[in-house]
Symmetry: C2
Subunit: 129 residues, 2 copies
Amino acid sequence: MNIGQVAERAGIPAKTIRYYEDIGLVRPQRSENGYRAFSEQDLHKLAFLARARALGFTIEDCRTLLGLYEDEARESADVKALATEHLAQIEEKIAQLREMHATLARLVEACHGDHRPDCPILQGLAEEG
Amino acid sequence: MNIGQVAERAGIPAKTIRYYEDIGLVRPQRSENGYRAFSEQDLHKLAFLARARALGFTIEDCRTLLGLYEDEARESADVKALATEHLAQIEEKIAQLREMHATLARLVEACHGDHRPDCPILQGLAEEG
DNA sequence: TATAGTCCTTCCAGTGACTGGAAGGTCAAG
DNA sequence: CTTGACCTTCCAGTCACTGGAAGGACTATA
């Protein structure tokens, strides 16, 4: 398979696949004409990466996960630890965003939003505390 | 005021303040020795920026907000529109994170996490659908 | 056979918002 | 007169791509 077809089937831009090769996440063969020649296994790996990325894992986490996936002697505890850690980070981010949202929503509600210049949002940003 | 004191009082690293000057968000005077000389107004501006950044506004949004803050003829509607747009983006991010969290939490719960290799998390990442 | 159009290649640079570090100037205290 | 804290500029790195230029390869059609 050429990169275009793999890109479509894995749902990843060709550019990103080249980048993944650059950083050693996939190592496709090469055809005689210099084109990358992807196997079904390469495609499978890329789809795995796409799903892991969609769950918010960093590239380095993805590298680790791929390693575990391909390691027959892995311990599921290692996978679970990684995923649990990531889950905690997601929770933290959600909490942060919720705080931002609460504060900003309060300011937005207080703002009449008309042609006049006085604005509780700007006041909120300008005040200390 | 020198940069160190401003950094402490505004709660922003000195490096970041220099960066903000680089991109034109603040324009402190210079002392004879070449040090940046911040006024109380500069400090106020930086504190404003810190709060806007803490609410998740982008630097460009912050630039706009500062402009509105300093424009006596602003219309609060413009501020509200910007904030409302940002609020929607926060909501979208929260929704995305919640989806990630739900999916990953389901996988983590299904994983026994012991010394054995079979792992629903990896299976989930490997499977299509 | 010429050509047009699509695919592929590499390489370089830019994104956002900093952050780290090197190399060196300035200032206050002892 | 030295030590140490503070300041300066400049360059490079982060993360995960993304855009674009310049050029080679392949396919279909006139």
